[in-house]
């Protein structure tokens, strides 16, 4: 792995850190959920109504308790993932209610789309897990959506996935279902197998649903991403330093709560902060400011000794065009080269999280492959890699195409594109397909050839029984 670069000096880190602690101590954070308020009271923090004022030393001590890294367990141990350190984890986009088609069409996302994106992630060598809420399946009743979504991840792939955090009850369902898959709640407490996303409500609030989710995961010892999305200019200050201070305060408050509930619970420092487009008010994510927020967050996570979530193949474009490509490359590259460990939204997102696109998924998958290759850097370990001998053999003026050394090494040293076109003009112009059109053919081919890894029938039965029982209860 390459060394990670910093975008802030130590002095800047310190200034923002101090600013965040001052926000927490003097302005405070609102927690709407009473059980959370009780936890803070028990830990001797000043509480007025639902507002909690956090002592700086207390925050630092609590954040200290969160582990620097943890392992997330998959049903197939080959897909276990270490989150933290030098590792990077890629997965599909999260939460989009729409699907945009190759021809520019827009439609509501469905459960069939859900299964497809999980399969595409399962098939991809660049996607380390299958993510969570890969689209919002609007054709499934929301009472039981979380169960159907979890089932899709369990059945269509053997990689790690994310669970629901929307309220204590849904969170608890996801955790128990994962426990069924892995052989019990005590098994996953020992070996965490489910991770979720908990968002603050910027500025400076956490709502009931998210806190209910947070408490369920913390109690069960399952990891969670604690993230803040500051829309600089609307839900936060228009200065990068101000927005970063606000985001940092919120994330620190959330992490503090998790450690109060269950000391040592694995958490990931999450950043989705970006800017507001001042002509429309919409969130804008495919930009250098977003890349800077994400890179700075990776640095803060290192500073606090926890893993970091941020970035992805992020764009404001509505179709797979040049804008989609250049914005996504910038945001994924920045996240990956500055030390982000957990990258939700790596593949598929269009229009600031509003839509998923199959074609975009394939483009991002290609970008992900390119970035992963870049991260591997140079291998200078062996004489073989230094290639002195072969340079000597060929000598001045020859060529390397017919050397054994070449044939042996190019496959591992070179990135092999799956989507990019490297043909001659004549070769390309036989079909004249642009990236969007090639991506469409590609995902159809991948889906057609994908066979989900088998799930032990006995386990499958138990999983289905659990879902059936809970669905009946929830739809009553």
């Amino acid at each position: 792995m390459l060394p990670k670069f910093d975008v802030l000096t130590d002095e800047q880190i310190n200034k923002i850190h101090k600013n965040s602690l001052k926000i927490l101590q003097e302005i405070g954070v609102e927690f709407s959920y009473d059980p959370a308020i009780e936890v803070f009271k028990k830990h001797g923090q000043r509480v007025e109504g639902h507002r909690v004022f956090l002592d700086p030393d207390f925050v630092e001590n609590m954040v200290e308790k969160a582990p620097a890294q943890f392992t997330l367990h998959a049903r197939n141990p080959e897909h276990n993932l270490v989150c933290g350190g030098e590792n990077i984890i890629y997965m599909p986009g999260y939460g989009a209610p729409f699907v945009y088609d190759a021809d520019g069409g827009k439609r509501d996302a469905t459960m069939a789309d859900y299964d497809n994106f999980v399969k595409l992630a399962g098939a991809s060598k660049n996607m380390h897990m299958t993510g969570g809420t890969v689209v919002e399946p609007t054709d499934v009743e929301d009472e039981i959506r979380h169960l159907k979504m979890a089932y899709s991840h369990i059945i269509n792939s053997d990689k790690c996935f994310m669970g629901s955090s929307s309220g204590y009850e849904h969170a608890r369902d996801s955790i128990e279902l994962t426990a069924v898959l892995h052989g019990g709640l005590d098994v996953i407490k020992e070996k965490p197998a489910l991770i979720c996303l908990v968002n603050s409500v910027t500025p400076l609030k956490y709502d009931d649903r998210m806190l209910g989710g947070l408490m369920a995961y913390a109690e069960a010892g399952q990891p969670m991403v604690i993230a803040s999305l500051v829309m600089a200019g609307s839900t936060g200050p228009a200065t990068l330093a101000g927005a970063m201070s606000l985001q940092n305060a919120e994330v620190l408050a959330g992490i503090t709560l998790t450690q109060c509930i269950n000391s040592g619970t694995p958490v990931v420092y999450g950043c989705t902060s970006a800017v507001t487009d001042m002509s429309t008010g919409s969130l804008s994510i495919g930009n250098p400011e977003n890349a800077l927020f994400v890179s700075a967050s990776a640095q803060f996570a290192r500073f606090y000794g926890v893993p970091c979530r941020g970035g992805g193949g992020l764009t404001d474009a509505k179709t797979v065009d040049a804008q989609a490509g250049y914005e996504s490359m910038m945001t994924l590259f920045a996240a990956s080269t500055t030390g982000v460990n957990f990258v939700m939204h790596t593949a598929g997102i269009l229009q600031y999280y509003m839509a998923m696109s199959y074609e975009k998924f394939m483009v991002d998958d290609e970008i992900a492959g390119m970035v992963l290759r870049y991260l591997k850097g140079f291998d200078t370990e062996s004489d073989e890699k230094m290639a002195y001998d072969v340079i000597e053999t060929v000598g001045p003026g020859g060529h390397f195409l017919t050397q054994k050394h070449t044939r042996k090494n190019f496959k591992t040293e070179f990135f092999r594109p799956a989507l990019s076109d490297r043909q001659s003009f004549d070769g390309w112009s036989k079909d004249s397909l642009d990236t969007n059109q090639r991506a469409k053919l590609k995902w159809q081919e991948v889906l057609a050839n994908y066979t989900p890894p088998e799930l032990d029938p006995a386990v499958k039965e138990k999983v289905e029984a659990f879902i059936e029982k809970r669905s009946k209860e929830l739809l009553k």
């Binding site: 209610p97 729409f98 509501d108 919002e136 609007t138 929301d142 409500v201 709502d207 829309m231 200019g233 609307s234 839900t235 507001t276 001042m278 002509s279 429309t280 008010g281 509003m354």
Partner: protein, 215 residues
């Protein structure tokens, strides 16, 4: 022309809420014609900002701060205007109750819609986030609004927009109000499905929609 009208206009263009209130209070205290203050001051100002917005010279903070200043100043004048003081009469383009539906706390889009409607001359009553159908209707009844505008940003709370229409039906109030809806995951089709009177994708389109509905 009384120089205070020009000052009011500038206060609106600058988005200076405090100054707008101060000047409105002066209008009341000194018995200056409030209708003229509105027409030559407040409306002139907001029209100027609106034009700059349309031509792309003004940005959201400009429009939203101007709308806030306008609203604050107009609130001060409300009483004298209602009492019919001044030459002629001032009437807003229509009253609109605006809010985010139950279960939903997203409010940036709603706030922008409110600001642009205000700057287009509508009187907007923003009831905030996470509001039940009853709350929308109670406010509309209280202020005599013609339009109820409901924002929803979540696929899971969109159905609260449907509940709003159904509630009006159940109360036999459906003909009394125009219901318009909007927000990220909503669509024209959703608006039709639930029997709303209109849907708009952006705040600018929301203004056009309201003009059409009340026009």
């Amino acid at each position: 022309m009384n120089p205070i009208f020009e000052e009011i206009k500038d206060a609106i263009v600058d988005g200076d809420e405090d100054l707008a209130i101060e000047l409105a209070e002066k209008v009341v205290a000194e018995g200056i014609d409030p209708v003229q203050a509105v027409q030559l001051g407040f409306i002139k100002g907001i029209e100027e900002v609106g034009a700059a917005w349309t031509s792309g010279e003004a940005f959201l903070p400009d429009v939203m701060m101007a709308a806030d200043a306008m609203k604050a100043g107009m609130d001060v004048l409300e009483e004298v205007l209602a009492a019919g003081e001044g030459e002629g009469a001032y009437e807003d383009k229509g009253k609109i109750v605006l809010g985010t539906v139950e279960g939903d706390i997203h409010d940036i889009g709603k706030n922008i819609v409110g600001a642009l409607l205000t700057s287009a001359g509508f009187k907007v009553y923003d009831i905030g986030i996470d509001q039940k159908a009853e709350d929308f209707v109670a406010k509309a009844d209280e202020v005599g609004a013609k339009i109820i505008a409901a924002s929803s940003l979540l696929t899971t709370t969109m159905k609260s927009q449907k509940v709003l229409v159904e509630y009006l039906d159940a109360q036999s109030l459906r003909d009394k109000y125009k219901v318009i809806i909007g927000g990220g995951p909503t669509s024209a089709k959703w608006g039709e499905d639930i029997g709303a009177d209109g849907w708009a994708e952006t705040a600018d389109e929301a203004v056009e929609l309201c003009k059409k509905l009340l026009g």
